[in-house]
């Protein structure tokens, strides 16, 4: 490390421009988190302390913890999310590995299959599962079996579909950066492929694996939608919130369960420790080229293809159902389901598109700024930022949505003016998925070699040159992954948004729910198909633009896992 580099790293001689930049990239995202996450969360905490008798205290907590069925529900949740995380991380590793380290044929098809669960509303995916595996579903009908999908098995399958793409997104980013020289050296020393995997790949993936496991566990322990449709009698904690808030209209008790559900995010303390062991990517790392090796490739590919096939099949059933007269009794084909006359027709779809673009653009910028800031911070504050960024994943959508009503439906012009706007829906969706985006970004930025930045700084490049020449080129694939992830979730997320729509403003995911509530699952399927088409068209267009820009800049665009 050069002397100048050391001085810069220690914050001496830092030019004003750079200090200003550091402030901005830290304070703007923090202000966003404070307003759109901490403030609503504080209100939830406050509500959880308001007792029935009007006093403030821990009475609600005592009451909830004394329920005899609570511990069974907690146990159910742990088993369900534990299984889901295990499946998603192992399967996610296999798929991400196959996609980035082997020359898997039909790579695009696997990529496409993996985004399907992100861009179909979860309600419809659960319907797809029931159409396929239900007691009166296709499979039982065709084979005469009596398979039981309701309960733990169905719940784990449905939640794995939801969590797997998120695991793959993080793991793919983690796998993307590695130094081929390490592998070459190991090869020269005679290490077997298995040893190279265990000694080089796995350690470099440790942070990615833990992050993916954390995300899968937390998003599924807080998710209520699948539990309601396919969980049968298998009660989980998230259904308890629903029962308290929606069933018994007992807000404060619901808030208590919401706060209890934050406990798994305490795991983040450990994650952060691992994150602090910075990535070891060296300056001028030579990317690992995908190669072929049959004994490894064949099982990896088989697992990837089977998973892809499964995901495609479920969505295919939904698409098929959208053209069916009356599933499963009149299977003749029709276009009538696409004639949507429910409140607002197709307008909500455009609102969704608009809000989701804001979610994705704003979110990607905020997260990128935050990781840039966090990278330069000293240990203690970095740790705080890290924890703050990671808590949102532990907040169930229902709780987040209600906390937004409590926080933003206020008389003062600010922030009251946001209530009832598409902007608030956009922000809500971003902060709902803040953690997943952040963890992906952190995984990506760990692989920007510090020496490279120092080199750029040493040769006189300022903040902008550093960003342009050192960080952004390496981060582009990660930025794109996060952008598309936020965009897709913004298009289909229902749980929180349902409390933010107004008579004049609704979104596509709500239309899907309405159609289903009005008794027409085939129309709900049809609307979902249109949402999926809209997302795919928008993503295709954005990719074309990126490609054109990359060509213009003379940089080849890299293929992404999430697009």
């Amino acid at each position: 490390m050069s002397a100048a580099g050391k001085r810069v790293a220690r914050g001496l001689d830092t030019p004003f421009e750079e200090r200003l930049f550091q402030r901005v990239v830290l304070l703007v995202p923090l202000a966003g988190l404070a307003l759109f996450f901490l403030y609503p969360l504080a209100i939830v905490i406050w509500r959880s302390l308001l007792q029935r008798d009007g006093a403030v205290g821990f009475g609600n907590y005592r009451e909830i913890l004394a329920l005899d069925h609570l511990w069974r529900v907690v146990w159910n949740s742990m088993v369900m999310s534990g299984l889901t995380a295990l499946i998603c991380v192992s399967l996610g590793l296999v798929i991400a590995y196959a996609m980035s380290r082997s020359r898997i044929p039909l790579r695009w098809l696997v990529s496409l299959a993996l985004i399907l669960p992100l861009l179909a509303p979860s309600l419809v995916q659960a319907l797809g599962l029931i159409f396929m595996f239900g007691r009166n579903g296709l499979l039982n009908y065709l084979t005469g079996m009596q398979m039981q999908i309701y309960g733990l098995p169905g719940l784990v399958i449905a939640n794995s579909m939801y969590a797997l793409p998120q695991a793959v997104m993080i793991l793919a980013v983690a796998l993307r950066y590695a130094d081929r020289r390490q592998y070459d050296a190991a090869l020269v020393l005679g290490a077997s492929p298995w040893r190279r995997f265990v000694d080089i790949t796995l350690p470099s993936l440790r942070f990615g694996l833990l992050s993916a496991g954390f995300v899968c566990f937390t998003v599924t322990i807080t998710d209520f939608g699948n539990a309601a449709v396919i969980g049968g009698n298998y009660r989980v904690l998230a259904s308890e919130i629903y029962a308290q808030v929606v069933g018994q209209m007992n807000f404060n008790m619901g808030a208590v369960v919401g706060i209890l559900l934050l406990i798994p995010t305490l795991l983040a303390f450990y994650l952060e420790k691992v994150a602090a062991q910075r990535g070891g990517t060296q300056e001028g790392a030579i990317p690992v080229e995908p190669d072929r090796w049959a004994p490894r490739d064949i099982p990896l590919w088989a697992a990837s293809y089977l998973t892809a096939l499964f995901l495609i099949a479920i969505v295919a059933v939904v698409i098929f159902a959208s053209f069916v007269q009356l599933w499963p009794y009149k299977m003749s084909l029709t276009l009538k389901n696409y004639n949507i006359t429910t409140h607002g027709g197709y307008d909500p779809l455009w609102t969704s598109l608009y809000a989701s673009l804001i979610t994705a653009t704003f979110g990607t910028l905020m997260l990128f700024a935050l990781v840039l800031a966090q990278r330069k911070m000293s240990r203690g504050p970095a740790r705080l930022v890290y924890l703050l960024a990671i808590i949102p994943v532990g907040v169930p959508g229902l709780v987040l949505g209600l906390s937004y009503v409590l926080s933003f439906n206020v008389k003062p012009v600010f922030p009251g003016i946001l209530y009832g706007s598409a902007l608030l829906i956009a922000f809500c969706n971003f902060y709902h998925y803040h953690s997943q985006g952040f963890l992906t970004m952190v995984t990506g930025v760990r692989n920007v070699p510090r020496q490279l930045e120092e080199t750029v700084t040493t040769i006189g490049g300022g903040v902008w040159a550093n960003l342009r020449d050192a960080i952004i080129p390496i981060m582009v694939p990660t930025l794109i992954s996060v952008f598309f992830f936020l965009f897709m979730r913004g298009m289909v997320t229902l749980s929180a948004v349902i409390f933010l729509i107004t008579p004049k403003l609704s979104v596509g995911a709500v239309s899907v729910m309405r159609l289903d509530q009005a008794g027409s699952s085939t129309q709900a399927a049809a609307f979902s198909v249109l949402i999926m088409l809209t997302v795919l068209a928008a993503m295709g267009l954005m990719r074309l633009l990126l490609l054109a820009q990359a060509r213009y800049n003379g940089r080849p665009g890299k293929g992404e896992i999430a697009a």
Partner: protein
Amino acid sequence: MKNTISLLAGLALGVAALPALAGEITVYSALEEDEIAAYLERAAADMPDVTVNLLRLSTGDLGARLIAEAGNPQADVIWGFALTNMLNPAIYDQLAGYDAKGEDALGAQFRDKDGRWFAPTGYVGAFCVNTERLAQLGAPVPTSWEDLKNPAYKGEVVMPDPSSSGTGYLQIAAILQGAGDEAGWQLIKDIDPNMAQYTTSGSRPCRMAQAGEFAIGASLSYVAMQGIDEGYPIQMVIPSDYAGFELEANGLMASAKNPDDAKRFLDWTLGEGAAEAYAARKDLVTIPGVPRSPQAEKAGLPEDLSSVLFPMNFAASGEARDAILTKWRETVGR
């Protein structure tokens, strides 16, 4: 990029920041999508100068929304909202007393003594019976809760969980009020072995029955009627022993920004135009002299509903709620 964002932000806020205009009211409703469309069409014809901005959510979601908004209520009128939920103090306290025109024609049990709500319509607890699936099983069509004890239905009955669904609660309350505590709990216990699932949502059991996933779904009359309308092989059965029902209450929000038009709208919900619209589709109308709807007739509802309905005591069932739910967990244990 930043300019674009601020431009978009401005657009987004513009939509939100419109003040309440004269002649516009905001109505929150839990009525069904298709009936709302029909009623509002009629309302627009009867009151051309009033624009109704309507937010439709399911009963549970709407209740949560109303409580969350209590600090700064947005609605002028609550229209067609389950009475049990309306009586929750967090919502009841937000209502203003208003004696709508025609309210005194309603029976005393269909309106609040302080004038905060009245209920011109309602719905009935009903079984959705999938006749195809039942035929495969070779089991008879059940006609009452007692019938559901038949072991032939093992694993084929679905009903809502009373702790998360108002519909489930109304069914349990009807059984307990009708049979008395001891016999009621015994009945619930006896049916339990046949129950495949206690669902979270109140309409889900009927949806499951209509998809042929289970043979019998205990749900509500309008959900069953929707299914029959869509063409599913569904038969609606109003249990002959303990048919619970729920009233759909209307009320004026104390904070209404446009109380005059809000009151006109409430008057309208009791008027001739609305009554005609109810007669075309509703299964339970409390306004005297309104004939049975064709849908209700097709679905097999009796001419005189009061002959099958068990007289529900809403206030009592609300107070007993916590105790009933606790006991239910103990009895059923799922």
